[in-house]
C-alpha cells in the first residue's frame, strides 16, 4: 500500500486523544511549529499503522505529534505542535 493510501486524518485519533486528555480534540485548532499553519486537528495527516501514531502538518508534512503506547504507559511528543486551542462546547 502506498503512503498516500495509508494516510488518514485527525478524526481517526479522536478516541485516542479523548482517552489521553479527557477532551474532544478533533475540533481543536492546532498550529504547526514548522510552518505556522492553523488547522483543526481533524484535518491533520495521520499515520496510525506504524508502531505508534504519527501526526503530520497537512501543509508542510512536518511531524506535529508522535504518540506511542505500551502496556501501562504512553509516550507523547508534541514538540512539532506550536499550540492547541480548545473551544468550549456550546
Amino acid at each position: 500500500m502506498s503512503s498516500e493510501d495509508r494516510r488518514l486524518d485527525g478524526n481517526a485519533i479522536g478516541g485516542l486523544l479523548l482517552e489521553l486528555f479527557g477532551l474532544e480534540l478533533t475540533a481543536a485548532m492546532s498550529i504547526c511549529r514548522s510552518c505556522g499553519s492553523e488547522e483543526q486537528v481533524a484535518r491533520l495527516h495521520v499515520y496510525a499503522d506504524a508502531p505508534g501514531v504519527v501526526v503530520r502538518c497537512c501543509h508542510c508534512e512536518r511531524v506535529m505529534m508522535r504518540i506511542v503506547r505500551a502496556p501501562g504507559r504512553t509516550w507523547l511528543d508534541l514538540s512539532g505542535t506550536g499550540s492547541l486551542e480548545l473551544r468550549e462546547l456550546d
Binding site: N11, G15, G22, T26
Partner: protein, 248 residues
C-alpha cells in the same frame, strides 16, 4: 465548560447487540444498547473493542448510523483480510455483547439547527456518518436543502438504498445523486464513473451559497472530492472531511 461531562475519562462500555440487518452482501448494521451511553451527534463515531479468549484485544472505529434521537447503531463493511470487521459482519448475533467507547469527534458533526444548504459526498461505507445527518434532518422535520452524492461500485453495493429512495421521493428538499463506478444496470439514469470536478459542478451548489460540506470515504475518494470542490471554487477550510482506513 461542563466540568464533569467534559473531563470524564473515556471508558469502555458493555454493549448488547439488540438487532442485526444486512444492508448489502458485505455490509451489516448492528443495533446496540449500552446502559451508560451518553448519546451522540450526527457524524460522530465510536470505537468497538473485541477481546479474544486468550486476552488479545483489537479495536476499530465505526461511524454511528443513526440520528441523535434514535437508538444507537453502527454500519460495518467487511474487509476480507480485516481483524474485526469479518467478525462484526458475519459472526456477531443478536444477544451477543461487545465493548464500545464514545461518542468520538467534534469536527465531522452536523446539527439540524445549523444553517444550510447541506452537501454530503460519500464513497462506499463513507455514507454511514452522512446517513446519520440525513436521518437527523428527516427526523427533525428540517427543510434545509440537502444533496447526497453517493459513489458505489455497483447497485448491489448501495447501502441504505431503499431508505434513501424513500427519503428522496418525499421531495422535501433532499436530493439523491448516485454514481456507480464498476457496473451500471441497463437503463441506469445516474452517473457511471468515478467522482470528478465536472460531476461536482453539476451536483454541488455554487460555492457562493456557502453550503455545509461533509465528505467521507477512502483517502483517495476524499482527496479527489475535496480537490474537485476546491477546483470549482470552494474554500478548502469549508470542506469537512473524514477518511476511512483500509484496516478493518
Amino acid at each position: 465548560m461542563a466540568g464533569a461531562a467534559v473531563l470524564g475519562r473515556l471508558t469502555w462500555l458493555a454493549a448488547d447487540v439488540i438487532g442485526a440487518a444486512a444492508e448489502t452482501p458485505r455490509v451489516r448494521t448492528l443495533r446496540l444498547h449500552a446502559d451508560e451511553w451518553p448519546g451522540h451527534r450526527a457524524g460522530q463515531h465510536l470505537d468497538v473493542r473485541l477481546t479474544a479468549e486468550d486476552g488479545y484485544q483489537a479495536f476499530r472505529s465505526y461511524s454511528i448510523a443513526t440520528a441523535p434521537d434514535d437508538e444507537l447503531a453502527i454500519t460495518v463493511e467487511r474487509l476480507d483480510d480485516g481483524e474485526v470487521s469479518p467478525y462484526l459482519v458475519d459472526e456477531l448475533r443478536e444477544g451477543d455483547r461487545i465493548e464500545v467507547r464514545g461518542p468520538i469527534g467534534g469536527y465531522f458533526v452536523w446539527d439540524a439547527s445549523e444553517r444550510g444548504p447541506l452537501l454530503l459526498i460519500g464513497g462506499g461505507s463513507g455514507v454511514v456518518p452522512l446517513m446519520a445527518m440525513i436521518r437527523h434532518r428527516a427526523g427533525t422535520g428540517s427543510s434545509i436543502p440537502a444533496r447526497l452524492l453517493y459513489s458505489s461500485r455497483t447497485l448491489e453495493d448501495v447501502i441504505y438504498r431503499g431508505e434513501l429512495d424513500e427519503l428522496a421521493a418525499r421531495q422535501d428538499g433532499f436530493e439523491l445523486f448516485h454514481t456507480l463506478t464498476r457496473s451500471q444496470p441497463e437503463g441506469w439514469a445516474g452517473y457511471g464513473r468515478r467522482i470528478d470536478a465536472e460531476m461536482l459542478r453539476e451536483v454541488a451548489w455554487p460555492a457562493a451559497d456557502e453550503p455545509q460540506v461533509f465528505v467521507c470515504g477512502s483517502t483517495r475518494f476524499v482527496d479527489t472530492a475535496a480537490d474537485g470542490l476546491v477546483a470549482i471554487g470552494y474554500e478548502p477550510q469549508s470542506v469537512k472531511t473524514e477518511r476511512f482506513g483500509a484496516t478493518g
